[in-house]
Symmetry: C2
Subunit: 153 residues, 2 copies
DNA sequence: TTTGAAATGATATGATGTATCATCAGGTTT
DNA sequence: AAACCTGATGATACATCATATCATTTCAAA
């Protein structure tokens, strides 16, 4: 069983546990993101599904499906890039924690890492001091990856 | 001399120090953001300039001006909201540090706070461990502000 | 097998952002 | 002052991202 299949199975289990259905179209979008191993825009996913599955999936549907997948914590939206990416921890047993996305401004490569609890607590405390309350915390940072840093020096 | 005037003066000084010109149109956009005391989209600024100054400033120009103001660190782009906001520290003498924006998902109010150095160092260290390098660090977080939290409970 | 809710399709449109070439304004040189 | 250069702005078109709305399909439960 391939790694992709394992992840898709776990995704399906997770949906079922919430009483939600991981339909065929939803699987197509999710596996598209998993296969591509990068962040993709909704319209890129439209093209991908057409090319890969020979099915025309209108943009509206893709957006709806992406929204569903985000609710299920299977996909994250990267606001810095206006793109969507599969969660890197779908098949992990540990708690996912607060995701932090490092986005290479040069090659668009994205790395998802997890912030340690102490740092989150500090951030959260700052937020509370300012009279605000965190909602679905997620951090995104504009970076250069190693390769691009070297190649642009 | 009003606070707004003071800030605009400081902005102009700062530009001059970089050999850049804070032209009339650029002042209009910046003071629009300062007067409104909130984040605005480029097209909202187009409307604002038309209404406030009776001048038609095409969207393309507003985008160019916003880009200029960002380079001068007078304006920040909020990617979570696709809006722009005046830097809260234009007239401050202290170093600005890494800005963190708390955006109320409900009323769109934005608070700019500064993260303490230790937290930044930790974040930066995490980023380096992952083989990435920070570029223009800035954090944005989806929050609820006090008022909206109370009103929605 | 009906039927009701959820998912998807179709269509239109709004919102955000950029490419490109033309024109204008303000200094500098002569 | 006139010519000239550069940076700023205008005009136009278009690309990209996203949502509103109503119609149709699918699928599981009654």
């Amino acid at each position: 069983m391939s790694n992709l299949d394992k992840i898709m199975d776990r995704a399906e289990d997770s949906c079922r546990a919430h009483g939600a259905r991981l339909t065929n179209k939803r699987k197509q979008v999710l596996s598209g993101l998993l296969k591509s191993e990068k962040a993709m825009s909704a319209y890129e996913l439209v093209d991908f599904c057409r090319d890969e599955y020979g099915e025309s999936l209108p943009p509206m549907s893709v957006y709806r499906i992406l929204e569903f997948l985000q609710q299920e914590s299977l996909v994250h939206k990267l606001s810095l890039a206006n793109k969507y990416i599969a969660c890197a921890h779908i098949a992990c047993d540990h708690d996912h924690g607060v995701p932090q996305f490092l986005i290479c401004s040069h090659c668009q490569r994205v790395e998802e890492i997890t912030i340690n609890q102490a740092t989150i607590d500090t951030l959260k405390q700052n937020v509370e001091s300012a009279g605000f309350h965190l909602v679905s915390p997620q951090l995104e940072m504009n970076c250069l990856c190693d390769r691009c840093k070297d190649s642009t020096v």
